[in-house]
Symmetry: C2
Subunit: 201 residues, 2 copies
């Protein structure tokens, strides 16, 4: 029997998936959570074979949660479920030792199959996501450029970014400018959006 832990902040999807997975003879959902912190605690308490995590989950995201759980329970396998498949995120996820990566556009029936594969020690990455990730150019931005884009996404004015990163305002403007050029974006906000789409920030 494959013992599964599910964490997803949307009740509707989580309860539905739990109910359907429980119908499978060889899969049992032993615990569920609606946030990453509870998921970690429940993993410690129940020692699941497979943890199914939503990538977009407040307050800590799915990759971070997975890293923590896998660190404490090396025997467990992690599967990430995501709405938007951002290429860069897949790389970060696989680097963290995550065994499976599926989009929410997967039917539940396929999900059960994936869970069985993962439990058997195999890995599974949705073909579409894999293709996108491979086709995607790797990040052309420097660490500093990523820093300023990350803050730009929260609508921070340049003055604030400069103070936080201990830089001159001109320097911040310069990083934004080079990032905008590299990404062919007409404004820093557009550049930040592009970087996010690609999973670079």
């Amino acid at each position: 029997m494959i013992r599964v832990l599910i964490a997803d902040d949307e009740e509707l999807i989580r309860t539905a998936v739990v109910a359907l997975l429980d119908l499978e003879d060889d899969i049992t959902v032993i615990a569920q959570a609606d946030n990453g912190d509870d998921a970690m605690a429940l993993a410690a308490a129940h020692d699941p074979d497979v943890v199914l995590l939503d990538l977009e989950m407040p307050p800590t995201d799915g990759i971070y949660t997975a890293e923590r759980i896998l660190g404490a329970h090396p025997r467990a396998k992690a599967v990430l479920v995501t709405r938007h498949a951002r290429p860069g995120v897949l790389k970060r996820a696989l680097a963290s030792g995550i065994a499976g990566f599926v989009p929410k556009s997967t039917p539940v029936s396929a999900l059960a199959t994936v869970i069985r594969d993962i439990a058997a020690g195999r890995r599974y990455v949705d073909p579409d996501i894999a293709a996108t990730a491979l086709a995607a150019d790797r990040c052309p931005l420097t660490p500093r450029e990523l820093d300023v884009l990350r803050m730009t996404r929260q609508n921070a004015p340049i003055q604030h970014i400069a103070r936080t990163l201990h830089l001159a305002e001109g320097t911040v403007r310069n990083y934004l400018s080079t990032a905008m050029t590299k990404l062919d974006a007409p404004s820093r906000h557009a550049a930040a959006d592009i970087a996010w789409e690609n999973g670079w920030v």
Copy 2:
């Protein structure tokens, strides 16, 4: 028997909900779609009692789809399912004759109950969403201010906004400025975000 049509672009959630609703004795899912256009066509073909629509659905949103379906099938009832409950959206939805409004944080079991209520001619609005909507101040922005904020959300530069709306650039800046003041936002992007959060754009 309550005949239900479901439209949601996320396979995972849609197939799961379909499977679970079908387990109910008095509910049957007669058709499903992953976009608004197909949903309209299927509604015409199957004449459902209740249509369950995701609010966030490309290319046309759930409210628009619901309006079209209700226009063609006045006997049908519509239920909107949403991830983020933006107050203003609820008002628009109810004005369009939508009978139910539930967040994705609803368990599937509750969803079946809501569908029965709706089919019986009652209305249902999630209490949390209703409370937020009632507490929310009504939109302080003028139509023109909404126009420029809407375009700002797509990262359009002021020049482009001005040309599209046939206004002088100074006028556009002025609308943005008043909107920023009203919403107490430090930049037009922040203002646009606030307006979106509230469902005003």
